[in-house]
């Protein structure tokens, strides 16, 4: 199979004026985490406002023995900015057709799974079922097939969602700013795009086919979303794909520089680790064990204390219950990562295996048990 140039935009892909990519990649390439010492870590923790270099220190191996201090500081920052509130939401997968060949993903176009796409009626029924649980925030997801799930299809799903939910986010294939505007006008206000890895050479070996192969187009998705009128954007590297310290550093810098350029943008981080998929149960997050994951989450929190941090069902109940007490401010519940599972019969297979199957009321009670306040909606669409 001949591999195309992953840095060259495909026809129809919008090119925007921005130098964020060069700045983020250059910062990441210059990041030598082994040079940081305990002194750098304690100095970083002593500062009110952290510089990118302080953030780099907190992600270094030298910071791992200071995980308790980092968690304590992270908790203080979280409570200062978010009080006791923990936002709840659920993802809704409406289609799992995909044109990309990403070797670690269950939806990849060569993986033999059941494919499905919900029609409008089915979407509405799924949403009604979710709304009954009391949730007010929904994240609409599709596999990345513009052919099978075009912009109008996703926009219609957003319009239906607006009838039942206060907050609508999308996690779909990257699109042009005018297409993001269509989604925004249909009720969506938040866009999440995982860059997966910021190491372009590694990225090229993992994303072999499809539009996702185009590294810079994916990188600039959040900026195009803001240009399209979206209120907030989410960032993530899939930890474990490559050197997780460098990827976490690049993720933070991506968010940091974008917020500097668009000060009104609301920033969110997700912290996914690799999970096993159908037909490949050997996929795992390698060297990103729970302490390293906690280190990354705390570093995000201390560096950007105002950012929302989502904790996924990729992590287990114990980790999730504890991390909301330290740094995470948003948690999913009642999660089904297949297609059509909320109303009974699942039509399409899952993207990955989840580790926390708790329903909405179980998560709600778990949050309250910790003296925290579950919040279904802290948002108004204006």
């Amino acid at each position: 199979m001949e591999r195309t140039d992953h840095m060259k935009y495909m026809e129809g892909m919008e090119v925007i004026e921005s130098d964020l990519l060069e700045r983020v990649i250059s910062a990441m390439n210059n990041y030598d985490y082994n040079k940081y010492t305990e002194k750098d870590v304690t100095a970083a923790l002593s500062r009110d406002v952290l510089s990118p270099d302080d953030f780099a220190a907190l992600l270094s191996p030298a910071a791992l023995p200071h995980l308790e201090e980092m968690a304590q500081r992270a908790k203080i920052e979280t409570r200062k900015h978010f009080g006791n509130s923990i936002a709840m939401f659920t993802p809704l997968y409406i289609a799992n057709y995909c044109e990309n060949y990403c070797i670690y993903c269950g939806f990849n176009c060569h993986n033999k799974i059941r494919r499905a796409k919900l029609n409008e009626d089915e979407i509405e029924k799924e949403m009604q079922s979710i709304a009954k649980t009391g949730l007010q925030e929904i994240l609409i997801l599709t596999g990345e097939s513009k052919k099978m799930s075009d912009v109008n299809y996703i926009a219609n799903a957003c319009k239906i969602a607006k009838k039942y939910f206060n907050v609508v986010g999308v996690e779909v294939y990257p699109m042009n700013s005018d297409e993001y505007r269509i989604l925004h006008e249909s009720g969506a206000d938040f866009v999440t795009v995982f860059q997966e890895t910021y190491n372009s050479d590694k990225y090229e070996t993992l994303h072999l086919e499809g539009h996702k192969r185009i590294f810079p187009y994916r990188f600039y998705a959040q900026e195009r979303a803001i240009m399209g009128g979206m209120r907030g954007v989410g960032f993530a590297a899939l930890l474990g794909l490559d050197d997780f310290r460098k990827d976490a550093f690049a993720t933070g810098m991506h968010a940091y520089l974008l917020q500097k350029k668009y000060p009104h943008a609301e920033i969110a981080f997700s912290c996914p680790r690799l999970r096993p998929i159908i037909n490949n149960d050997k996929i795992n997050p390698k060297d990103v064990h729970e302490p390293q994951l906690l280190q990354v989450i705390c570093a995000y929190r201390i560096f950007m204390p105002f950012a929302s941090i989502t904790i996924s069902t990729r992590e287990c109940e114990r980790f999730r219950n504890n991390i909301i007490n330290i740094a995470a401010t948003k948690i999913s519940a009642g999660v089904d990562v297949g297609i059509g599972g909320h109303t009974g019969e699942q039509k399409g297979d899952e993207q990955f295996e989840i580790s926390d199957p708790r329903n909405v009321s179980q998560v709600y009670e778990a949050i309250k048990k910790q003296g925290l306040q579950p919040v279904m909606s802290d948002y108004i669409y204006v």
Partner: protein
Amino acid sequence: MEDKLILNGHEFTSRFILGSGKYSLELINAAIENAGAQIITLALRRAAGKDVENILDYIPEGITLLPNTSGARNADEAVRIARLSREMGCGDFVKIEAIRDSKYLLPDNYETLKATEVLAKEGFVVMPYMYPDLNVARDLKNAGAACIMPLGSPIGSNKGLCTKDFIQILIDEIDLPVIVDAGIGRPSQACEAMEMGAAAVMANTAIATAGDIPKMALAFKKAIEAGRESYLAGFGNVVEGGARASSPLTGFLHD
């Protein structure tokens, strides 16, 4: 004569405005009671949802709601949220928050002024959260604001009165209640603001994240009352930075 906080003709005996955004709901009531607060701010974006537990159900009757427009990035959005708040039955009070900076949450004075002009004309009791700028404060007064709410330091920072000197200028120059909002982390800082002549203090994070929330609410109440009493009493002849010279410096005039 009883010492009262007066906002567009509405009278309050408490000078402690309590935020409600960062609590566990069941603690709100205890905090209000111990704080002796009569005005509670409320993020409309939090109250407008169909949450399993709505924050409005936890606020006792008789308390004046002060909905804020948090989430608004400009004047238009602030105006829309204020109108929605009135439609929802949250009353005529509104705290304008127009913020287009997600990092420090610093208010945009220009947009705040524009929203104040519109909402004051529509009969709202407009309480604008602002960066302490004398010129803008004058414009806000002329636009019909019921008070001005300069920030002590960034929201949630607990840093106290970083803008102390500028707030003092507003207190001295603006003929409206000056309510210090944001950044008050300790009762002592609230007391200091009141000693300066602030008409009231607003606090949220410092109480909502305290180890014992009702107790901290009580501590703030006492501090605010102490600060107010001290302001009204007038300071004694306290000399800062050294003792008074025993020989008068102007004695030579009589030689």
